[in-house]
C-alpha cells in the first residue's frame, strides 16, 4: 500500500471567462462537490476541457485538485460530446486514473457512457451519494422515478460514475494545483456532430436550478406567465431558483429549461417550495430528494402534500405574496 492512491479524475464543468464583461472563468458547483467525493476515493485530479484561466485553476486547487489536466482545443466547443470523450480517454491512458467522475446531467452522462464503452468499464449514473468501499466506490442511486434507493459497485474497468448535483458538500482542501496541458488527437468520429450556431440564453441572475439550495416551483395553479411573478418574488426573497412543472412549461408560462421532473431537471435542494403543483409521479421524480418541502395548493387532497414537511391548503396568489411580506417584515 505504499503506492500513492490512484487519481480520481473529475471532468470539470466551467463557465468560461467573458471578455466582454471582464468576468473571469468559474467552476460550476457540482464539479467542486465531485472533488469532495474524489478525496474520499483517492487523489483528486481535474480535467478542464476548454480554457482554464488562473482563477479556475486556483479554485480547483483550493478544493483539492493536485493535478489539473487541460485540453484546450477548438474542437471541444465546436462539436457535441465526442472531443470530451477523447480528452478523458487520453488522460486515463496515461495510466494512473482509478475512477472517473462526471456530473449526472445529459452531457456528463453521455461523455461518461462513451468513456465507459471505450474503456470497457462499468458506469453508474445518477449517483446521489458515493463512498469508498471494499473493492471500489459504492454509489447510491435513486431509481424508478426516485422511489427506490439502490447501491451499486462497478466491477469492471476504471469505474465511471455520474454524480448528481448536491450529492456531496463543497469543502475547501487547499493544495498547490499543477497544470498539465494534454494534447489530444481527436478521432474523426468524435467530430461528427458540428455545432453550427449557438444562441446563449439571457441569464436570470438567480442561482442555477440544479445546484440551487432553494427552489421555488410553480405549476398549472399559477395560471399564467404573468402569474409567475409571485413565484419569482418568493424565490428572490429566499435567494433561490425558479422551477416549473411540465404543465406550466407546456403552456409556455415558463421556459422549458426550468422544468423539473422526469423529462426536465432533477433537483435536490435544501428547500423546495411547490406552488400550484399537484405532485404527479413524473414531477416527484425530479424533486423527491429535496430535504425540506413546502407545498401550497388549493386542493387538500393533492398528492404533493404527502411529501410536504409543511403544507398550506390555500390560494398561492394570496399566500405567496403574504409570505414574501412576512419575510421582509421579520428582516426589517
Amino acid at each position: 500500500m505504499s503506492d500513492p492512491a490512484p487519481q480520481v479524475l473529475v471532468l470539470v464543468e466551467t463557465v468560461p471567462a467573458d471578455p466582454a464583461t471582464g468576468r473571469s472563468g468559474t467552476v460550476r458547483r457540482p464539479s467542486l462537490e465531485q472533488l469532495t467525493v474524489a478525496r474520499r476515493l483517492g487523489t483528486p485530479a481535474a480535467l478542464v476541457c476548454g480554457p482554464a484561466d488562473d482563477d479556475v485553476v486556483a479554485v480547483l486547487g483550493q478544493h483539492g485538485a493536485a493535478t489539473v489536466y487541460v485540453v484546450d482545443a477548438p474542437e471541444v466547443g465546436g462539436y457535441l460530446v465526442g472531443p470530451k470523450v477523447d480528452a478523458v480517454a487520453a488522460v486515463v491512458d496515461r495510466g494512473d486514473v482509478g475512477c472517473v467522475l462526471v456530473t449526472s446531467n445529459p452531457e456528463g452522462k453521455e461523455v461518461g457512457g462513451r468513456v465507459a464503452v471505450r474503456l470497457g468499464s462499468g458506469i453508474v449514473t445518477d449517483a446521489v451519494d458515493v463512498q469508498a468501499g471494499d473493492g471500489g466506490p459504492v454509489a447510491t442511486q435513486a431509481v424508478v422515478a426516485g422511489q427506490w434507493l439502490a447501491t451499486s459497485q462497478v466491477v469492471r474497468g476504471v469505474p465511471v460514475i455520474a454524480v448528481r448535483p448536491n450529492a456531496a458538500p463543497v469543502e475547501p482542501a487547499p493544495v498547490q494545483a499543477v497544470v498539465e496541458k494534454v494534447d489530444v488527437t481527436f478521432a474523426p468520429s468524435s467530430l461528427g456532430a458540428r455545432v453550427v450556431s449557438r444562441t446563449p440564453r439571457a441569464t436570470t441572475g438567480r442561482p442555477e436550478l440544479t445546484a440551487a439550495p432553494v427552489v421555488v416551483a410553480g405549476g398549472r395553479g399559477v395560471g399564467s406567465a404573468a402569474g409567475f411573478a409571485v413565484v419569482e418574488a418568493l424565490a428572490d426573497a429566499l435567494g433561490g431558483a425558479v422551477g416549473a412543472s411540465r404543465a406550466a412549461t407546456d403552456e409556455s408560462w415558463y421556459g422549458h429549461q426550468f422544468q423539473i421532473g422526469q423529462t426536465g431537471k432533477t433537483v435536490a435542494p435544501a428547500l423546495y417550495v411547490a406552488a400550484g403543483i399537484s405532485g404527479a409521479i413524473q414531477h416527484r421524480a425530479g424533486m423527491q430528494s429535496a430535504r425540506t418541502v413546502v407545498a401550497v395548493n388549493k386542493d387538500a387532497k393533492a398528492p404533493i402534500f404527502a411529501l410536504a414537511d409543511l403544507g398550506v391548503v390555500g390560494d398561492l396568489h394570496t399566500v405567496l405574496p403574504q409570505v414574501v411580506a412576512e419575510i421582509a417584515r421579520r428582516r426589517a
Binding site: K109, G113, A116, A145, G192, R201, Q257, V294, V312, Q322
Partner: protein
C-alpha cells in the same frame, strides 16, 4: 434511406414496481407498454416519411417475449417492419451489454438514421444513444427538439434547447439522434391502423444471429453489480394548515426556524 427507431417495452409508469430476487426489476409482475418517450421518436420517423422522405422505417427492440407489444404499438403508428432481439441470456444486462447487443443488431439491419427517445421511462439513464454512437463510430445528436433530414446532402440538422444556449447541430449520416418530448404529440392510432400494424412483418433474432456470445451479456458480464435495493423511506407526513389568512405567518416562522429566511 433506412430509418431505425429504437423502442423499449417498459413497465407502466403508474404501476407498483417490485424487484425480483436477483435485484432486477420484476418486469413479469407489471403491465407493460411502449415507453411514452419512445413514442416521440416513432412519431418523428413517421412524420419524416409523411413529409416526403423516401425511407423505410424499422423498429428495433430488445426484451423478453412480451416486448413485441411495444413493436406492435409502434407499427400501428406507421412504419414498415420490426426487429425483436430476444434471448434469455440478455436478462440482467447493464447499459454496456445492452448497447453492445443493439449495436450488433443495427449492424445487422443496416441504418442511415437511428432515432431514439430521450430516455426510457424505467431505467432513465439516457446514455444508450451515446453508447451506440461510440460503438458504431457515427455521430450522435441527443435531445433534439426537432430534426430535418437532407437526403441529398446526407445530413441531419437538429435544434437543441440547452440550459445556457440553444444550438443548431449538423451531423453527417449515418447518425444516432434522440428526440425530446417537445417534438410533437405522438399520434393515437385508429382501430384500422392497429389492425394494419398487426400484419406488418416482425423478425425475431437471437444473440447467436447477431454473433454475440452469451457470456458477453447478462448479469455475469455486467460492469456494475447492484448491492442492495430498498424502498426509499416514506417521508413523515408534515404539518398541513388550511389558510385562514394566517398561513403565511406559519410558513414564514417555519422558514426562519429552518434557517431559510
Amino acid at each position: 434511406m433506412h430509418v431505425v427507431v429504437l423502442v423499449k417495452h417498459v413497465p407502466e409508469p403508474t404501476a407498483t414496481w417490485s424487484f425480483a430476487d436477483d435485484l432486477t426489476l420484476d418486469r413479469a409482475a407489471v403491465e407493460g407498454r411502449l415507453s411514452e418517450l419512445d413514442e416521440y421518436a416513432v412519431e418523428q420517423a413517421v412524420r419524416l416519411v409523411e413529409s416526403g422522405l423516401d425511407a423505410r422505417i424499422t423498429y428495433l427492440t430488445l426484451g423478453p417475449a412480451k416486448a413485441v407489444e411495444g413493436l406492435r404499438k409502434a407499427l400501428s403508428m406507421g412504419g414498415d417492419d420490426g426487429v425483436h432481439v430476444v434471448d434469455p441470456a440478455v436478462h440482467g444486462s447493464d447499459a454496456l451489454a445492452t448497447s453492445l447487443v443493439l449495436a450488433k443488431a443495427l449492424q445487422h439491419t443496416g441504418f442511415d438514421l437511428v432515432l431514439a427517445g430521450m430516455a426510457s421511462t424505467d431505467a432513465e439513464m439516457s446514455v444508450l444513444p451515446a453508447m451506440l454512437a461510440e460503438r458504431l463510430g457515427v455521430p450522435q445528436v441527443t435531445f433534439g427538439g426537432d430534426l430535418a433530414v437532407d437526403a441529398a446532402a446526407g445530413t441531419v440538422t437538429v435544434h437543441r434547447d440547452g440550459d445556457d444556449a440553444t444550438e443548431e447541430v449538423v451531423a453527417a449520416l449515418p447518425a444516432v439522434v434522440s428526440v425530446t418530448d417537445r417534438t410533437g404529440q405522438p399520434r393515437y392510432p385508429s382501430f384500422k391502423a392497429i389492425m394494419a400494424g398487426k400484419k406488418k412483418p416482425v423478425q425475431t433474432l437471437t444473440l447467436a444471429d447477431l454473433g454475440v456470445a452469451p457470456e458477453q451479456v447478462g448479469a455475469a458480464a455486467a460492469g456494475v453489480v447492484v448491492r442492495s435495493v430498498a424502498v426509499r423511506p416514506p417521508k413523515q407526513a408534515g404539518q398541513v394548515v388550511v389558510d385562514d389568512g394566517t398561513a403565511a405567518a406559519v410558513v414564514a416562522d417555519f422558514l426562519v426556524a429552518r434557517g431559510f429566511a
